[in-house]
């Protein structure tokens, strides 16, 4: 059982992680009291989704050492799939109001987006990254980064080429009155998005911590050669990692379709945010990314609330620059720092 040790708690509070988490909680509480509970609701909903995107980003970096610049494009793929799956389901639902398919529609949409996202991840690993890996491992971090830049350009403009540049959005996933908790109204879509994010983050955490495959993924992220020596199939793990992280991003995109209609460069904003998260959490730190996601989303919500919309890149990025200056390896540290220096 866990024992409460005062010294350790004090030590944690004095660490960068403790200070930043406590400060953010305090800021969140203050803003909620000051401006009303929608601050908290927005932070939590966006933070949940951001956690999904940035967890995948952190994992791809930790396991495969790829600084993924194309991660937002899997978010975009998620929104696109969700749009094309949900629109016919919704049309069917309006003609057959009490069919089972209709009421399960949003779930089917999200699952479909996850599957397509995973397939896209597998495809990009097999067609792109493994090709580079076969040829050269020298200067890997930079080369793979440029590769993801190219991938991002191709995917964004591929979307424009095949699906057009117009906004493809829906009004809502779940009809019905908003939930009311303590006199705060939360739209069903937001509540469900947050609920889904929590379920998936938990499931993912359990998978990483307690299953054999999850342990293998962590082993590869710690030491690739060591993992090979103890008989872990490296290629399988790499493909799986990519598929998982892309599925997470696509899922985030699908369940946020009501906020972000699908268009070619929809993935850029989540990408920026996710990079903010992984940089302050420490690249490759998956659990830190979950906490960091909520901090960044709080920063963004507070900026919009107190300074105005449109400033939400200026203030967070300025703050993150300051954080980076003082803590170059991120708030929560990271064990994979040796790789980053290349």
């Amino acid at each position: 059982m866990w024992k409460i040790e005062p010294e350790r708690i004090v030590g944690w509070i004095k660490s960068a992680a403790g200070i930043s988490i406590l400060l953010s909680v305090a800021a969140a509480v203050f803003a909620t009291l000051d401006r009303g509970p929608h601050v908290l609701v927005n932070t939590v909903v966006m933070g949940g989704m951001l956690a999904l995107v940035s967890m995948g980003l952190a994992m791809v970096f930790g396991v495969m050492n790829i600084p993924m610049f194309a991660h937002g494009e899997y978010f975009m793929i998620g929104t696109l799939v969700a749009y094309y799956v949900f629109t016919p389901i919704n049309a069917y639902f309006t003609t057959h109001p009490d069919s089972l398919l209709g009421s399960l529609g949003p779930l089917i949409t999200v699952v479909a987006a996850m599957m397509v996202g995973a397939l896209a991840g597998v495809a990009s690993e097999v067609l792109v990254f493994s090709q580079l890996r076969k040829r050269s491992r020298e200067n890997w971090v930079m080369n793979s980064f440029l590769l993801t830049v190219g991938l991002s350009v191709v995917l964004i403009n591929g979307h424009q080429l095949f699906f057009g540049a117009d906004f493809k959005g829906i009004v809502r996933f779940w009809s019905g009155a908003p939930y009311s908790i303590l006199e705060v109204f939360i739209a069903r879509d937001r509540a469900m998005a947050f609920f889904l994010a929590v379920v998936v983050v938990l499931a993912f955490w359990l998978f990483i911590s307690y299953t054999r495959t999850g342990r293998a993924i962590r082993a590869v992220s710690q030491d690739e050669t060591g993992a090979l020596i103890v008989g872990i199939g490296l290629n399988g793990i790499l493909v799986l990692t990519m598929a998982l992280s892309c599925a997470l991003a696509a899922m985030a995109g699908a369940s946020l379709l009501f906020m972000y209609p699908s268009y070619p460069s929809v993935g850029l904003e989540p990408l920026y945010m996710a990079w903010f998260v992984v940089i302050i959490a420490g690249l490759g730190n998956v659990l830190g990314a979950v906490v960091g996601a909520f901090i960044v989303s709080l920063l963004k919500v507070l900026t919009v609330e107190y300074i105005g919309s449109g400033w939400d890149f200026v203030v967070p990025s300025a703050l993150i620059i300051v954080i980076l200056v003082f803590k170059p390896s991120g708030l929560f540290g990271s064990e994979v720092r040796g790789v980053l220096d290349k």
Binding site: V149, V153, N157, G158, G310, V325
Partner: protein
């Protein structure tokens, strides 16, 4: 390899001073004559050539950082935009002539480059790239939100540089001259001991530090020079297009320059410039002839970047060095290597 002493012929000396090979010089002369030759003397083709020369000049300045100290300055076009905005606002508010405004823009960009250089000192590789990127995002956000200064997304109207003449020809020669000046500056800097130090830092920082190179100084100098040149080019951008929107600072613009620089060949400086002309003109051709397929040119762009990264990471410069520079023919050897010591030219 023969160990010839550098040729004393005056033409060779001049070329050596400009760091050009005879082939490079003739290519430049061809570029200068190009807008006078029939298919290229149409107004829209001159515009293509201008944007190609502009991207070429940017890619030289970009490669000066990316190819030498191995830090991808992901906020490069934001710094370019900063120079452009500075010059445009000065011309707009106090009526300063663009010629001086461009230099002040370069100075402001240099200051920011200095700041970024100092701030990224503790960071390496991808962290430094991200920090420069965040600087770029913040700058773009500022340009969007400081509406009283920049008119935000509405766009800032700027007087064009050669407003009196209807042709763009003078713009073309100006940007071509700027490209050559930038090339000569960066080339001359990298030919000295400093260039060696840059390369050493880029390849292995710890080893460089062990051999007595102070990375602090060299990294800051490199960043400042590269940003200065970008700011100067930004001034040209502002006074050529006549309108500035925050979009010039967008990451996708940096990606465009980055793609050209890397397809051209990292660490070569001239590779990006050489590849920019056929590349940009080809892209414009695809875009203007296939208007019913929007985005196709950029798909090709991305695929090309990926293909080069996977199959030929050295880019065009490496290809050229392997197949043309090591020639046995004396004439061709002179053309591609110049009058300088041959082995030296290859390693350069």
């Amino acid at each position: 390899m023969d160990n010839r002493t550098p040729s004393t012929h005056p033409v060779d000396k001049l070329l050596d001073l400009l760091c050009l090979t005879p082939l490079g010089a003739s290519a430049l002369i061809l570029l200068a004559l190009l807008p006078l030759i029939p298919p290229f003397n149409q107004e829209y083709l001159i515009r293509w050539l201008i944007s190609a020369a502009f991207i070429a000049a940017l890619s030289i300045a970009f490669d000066f950082t990316a190819g030498y100290i191995s830090i991808v300055n992901f906020g490069f076009c934001a710094i370019m935009g900063l120079g452009g905005y500075t010059s445009a606002i000065l011309a707009d508010r106090i009526g300063l002539t663009p010629w001086i405004g461009m230099l002040i823009g370069a100075l402001v960009a240099a200051l920011l480059g200095l700041v970024i250089g100092i701030v990224t000192l503790r960071l390496r590789g991808i962290f430094a790239a991200c920090l420069a990127w965040f600087f770029g995002l913040a700058l773009m956000g500022l340009a969007t939100k400081l509406v009283w200064l920049t008119r935000g997304p509405l766009g800032l109207r700027v007087d064009r540089l050669f407003a009196s003449s209807s042709s763009n020809l003078s713009f073309y020669y100006l940007v071509l001259a700027m490209m050559v000046v930038i090339y000569v500056i960066t080339r001359r800097v990298t030919r000295t001991r400093m260039g060696l130090a840059f390369k050493a830092i880029g390849q292995n920082m710890d080893a460089a530090r062990t051999s007595g190179i102070n990375p602090v100084f060299y990294r800051i100098v490199n960043f400042t020079i590269s940003c200065t040149l970008a700011g100067w080019l930004g001034g040209f951008y502002a006074h050529f297009y006549g309108i500035l929107t925050p979009d010039v600072m967008h990451t996708s613009k940096t990606v465009e320059v980055l793609a050209v620089a890397y397809i051209g060949g990292r660490g070569s400086l001239w590779g990006g410039a050489a590849i920019a002309f056929p590349f940009i003109c080809g892209m414009e051709l695809v875009r203007s002839s296939l208007t019913n397929l929007p985005g196709l040119n950029l798909v090709i762009y991305g695929l090309l970047l990926m293909a080069v990264m996977i199959y030929y990471p050295g880019g065009f410069a490496q290809f050229f060095d392997t197949y043309f520079r090591r020639t046995r023919s004396r004439l061709l050897g002179y053309l591609v290597n110049g009058g300088r010591n041959r082995s030296d030219a290859i390693s350069n």
